[in-house]
Symmetry: C2
Subunit: 210 residues, 2 copies
DNA sequence: GTCTATAAATGGATAGAC
DNA sequence: GTCTATCCATTTATAGAC
């Protein structure tokens, strides 16, 4: 069958998310898909390679979500980027929750991840600059712009882990992405123009995602 | 020997931090300590129990660091709590980096962790309230106070993971805790009175920890 | 492309001597 | 308290038939 590789990736993702990467073995994945271990290994040389392929999806997703913003940036667009970003983190939450172990055992993936991270941080810093330029945000010291971008990144990255581990959100149901976005947005709110801030808040309320 | 339990905990911590919890087996730990696996199992029934004992240390540490603050809160005290908090996260970084997997496989630990988290968030929210009351901070909506506390918590919790995985900080050397504290403090800065903000910044610069 | 069967290695854990 | 020896279960991965 043609779509076997994709089926394996989809099944692996589901199991990783719900049971944890570590707890899921290649045999579990094969079982889950009513497939033989031999067949699975025909398509992927190892569990590591499955994870790498899942990272490719994340990478593509992230770069698609963070397309160049048209000027001026509208509150609606701004809110959508965050909602989609958080949605991606949720859909691949096993990856974001276990990044230290995953990257620690695959140098190749670790270096590609660092590249993606730089890209995201550059995009975010650039977007903040654009907002400042168009008068929607009050200026900050250059060092603090980068720090702010990094903070937003860290909050989005870890929001689902926090929600699952500390708030006890079910591992099987959707968390409230909106609440996560409100958290990350709170970092920027003090710097937004009052009207822009208000319109971002409203956009978060009315936009659905996923 | 009397201190064997502590030796096991110290050795495990070192290995977990430097090689990853998952990669470290009970046999590795025994080897590392020139001790037999049998002896290790005499002191701890399983790897899970070792991790639980390490959590006990973290729990005690956190509650000690976050002692009730005298009023009024000085910028120096405020800075010190954050520096010590970040230092604890660094010393037990394996735990903070792998919390989802660890808590996902030990319900007992997970529930104790949730209790500690609530305690820390309550402390932080209370401290923010105190700062507002004494006029060092401008008021926020109640919901936003909690969100702010949660954001600070998430940044401190994940700063070392971020530093290791994305900035490529060595796994063997001290990261710059100061930079992490500056990141978390940036969340609060917009709400601080200018003079209080300045004195906090100065306190972070001159205080050493660890 | 897919299966069955199984090799090879590892890791958690225990028994029993000292 | 500590060691040696070892069992058992799990996991990765491959060989070879279909």
């Amino acid at each position: 069958m043609a779509g076997t590789k994709e089926r394996i990736l989809d099944g692996s993702l589901e199991l990783f998310n719900n049971r944890g990467v570590q707890a899921v073995t290649t045999n579990h994945i094969a079982d889950h898909l009513n497939m033989s271990p031999g067949n699975l290994y025909y398509h992927f040389r190892s569990k590591e390679h499955i994870i790498r392929s899942l990272f490719e999806r994340i990478d593509a997703d992230a770069r698609a979500v963070m397309a160049p913003l048209p000027t001026p940036v509208s509150p609606q667009q701004w809110a959508e980027v965050f909602l989609h970003g958080l949605d991606t983190v949720w859909r691949y939450r096993f990856f974001f929750a276990n990044i230290v172990e995953i990257a620690g055992r695959d140098d190749m993936l670790a270096s590609r991840l660092r590249a993606l991270t730089r890209w995201i941080l550059d995009w975010t810093t650039g977007a903040i600059d654009a907002l400042i330029e168009q008068g929607s945000m009050t200026p900050l010291a250059p060092g603090d712009r980068r720090r702010l971008a990094e903070n937003v990144f860290i909050i989005i990255w870890n929001w689902t882990s926090y929600a699952v581990a500390f708030r006890g959100e079910s591992r099987l149901h959707e968390i409230d992405a909106r609440e996560g976005v409100l958290h990350s947005m709170l970092l920027l709110m003090p710097y937004f123009e009052p009207e822009f801030a208000e319109r971002v808040r409203a956009a978060i309320d009315r936009t659905t995602v996923g």
